[in-house]
Amino acid sequence: MKIDKNTTLKIAKLCRIRVNNNEIDELSAQLSSILDWVEQLNEVNTDNVDPLSNVSKSSLPLRKDEENILNQSKEVLKNAPDQLEDYFVVPKVVK
């Protein structure tokens, strides 16, 4: 198996997703088969090929340095699960 339990747990930790014990085996198997499947890309000779990270051929658009003075705190906090006096509230990093 390419992706073993530990690797699955390590990756899950990186992307902050909790994987339960009853999910690990199936998930590791699925991830392994997907990764095996995509490995066929190794058949392709890509020497001297530049990667294509965006199909657009334009140049990066630039914005003028004008400040927008609108106070959007109401909008920005409107959907917050927990807030207090214009702050977002979250649990402490470590208990």
Binding site: L14, S59, L60, S73, D86, Y87, V90, P91, K92
Partner: protein, 489 residues
Amino acid sequence: MNNPIKGNNSNWEAVIGLEIHAQIQSNSKLFSSSSTKFGSRPNSQVSLVDAAMPGMLPVINEFCIRQAIKTGLGLNAEINNHSVFDRKNYFYADLPQGYQISQYKYPIVGEGVVTIDFKNGSSKNIRIVRLHLEQDAGKSLHDQNPTKTYVDLNRSGVALMEIVSEPDLRSAEEAALYISKIRSILMYLGVCDGNMQEGSLRADVNISVRKPDKQLGTRCEIKNLNSIKFIKQAIEFETKRQIKIIEDGGVIEQNTLLFNTETGKTKPMRSKEEAHDYRYFPDPDLLPLNLENEFIENLKKEIPELPDDRKKRYIMSYTLSNYDASVLIAEKGVSDYFDQVLKIHKDLKSSAKIVVNWITSELFSILKKNVVDIIDSPITPTNLGKLVKLIISNKISGKIAKDIFEEMFETKKSPDEIVELKNLTQVSDKNEIENIIQNILEENQKEVEEYKKGKTKLLGFFVGRAMKLSKGKANPKILNEILIDKLNN
């Protein structure tokens, strides 16, 4: 090797590199139009983009690109025609996107070099590895509640330049000189306000120790130091800590550390063993930045005369000493002030040293006492120059000049005006001085006798009386000459 550190059993060398984060002084953030002002109400300078709302996209601030390029030019560095913005992925409460837009493989600025000057007149080159643009994070308040953290995203997205040095620094002093120099260059360029207390400029320090000329040791990173004083303290503590561990037979663990400003000690940031895997990849919401050479050349024209160049000019044009020149360039405001004086009063060129003295002792002192910045000095460069001219032409004495100086500060009047008003012109007329002296000697016959008998210390007494009679205006040199002459005859 110039900085051997004495350990218990042998000499050691500290190997230090700095990563400096400088906030760009722009009106809006790097990828959004929100304001960048410091100290506003929480979350009042946060746009939908800054808050990472679903569907939001970054658009880059042209001004920030220019400022980064100008900074690169000020660091004598290569400007890269092609650079790419990458996402640095990690989770933290003050990082709303779950990634920071930064630059990884292709930064906007490449290798450069900066010179630091020691007090003894020698210099050292510190190599710059790179400079790149990135977003600043928001702020987390941890100490308001035992179980909760409060997040303010005002700072999230402000443009930062990260300047990375090679580990060429060897001591706390060198590190302090280096960051001062960088700060100075940034302020001369007008790209950063250099305010370390407000977080406009901060540094991470990478430090390891080794026996001189041996292999590099394992390094630790001390994060987020926001004053030069703390940088020095942290380096000094960490150097000692690492040396002690090795000398006691231990091994240095590679760690990210925080410096506790109250205890003066470093300690590991988190107990987590996992190293960060940032999974950098080019941000697909942004296209690569391709700069034309013409664009870069045009920016070169906007670079003002930078500290090192000014220093050279001061030494050459005004034959100032290295030390004096260094003091002048340390703050752009001071250097600009000095340049103004000499610009307005071109005839003071040969007396530049006197101008320097007046600026660095009297002006500095009175500004400090009144908590005024040199930019706001009530004593204008024009007037300071006029004062120096009055002294050089013997119109006033040195002592009177000092009094006038204070009055100039209070009233903003020119020295000539004050001299006129208060009738402070120095008396250099020999006859007048003779008369004064004659008066003094006649009134103090007893002392004259004692002087002639050998009590030569009384000269000061006569000088004092003469000065008083002349209301301080007597030219001291002439007074002395005539007085001695008369006393000896």
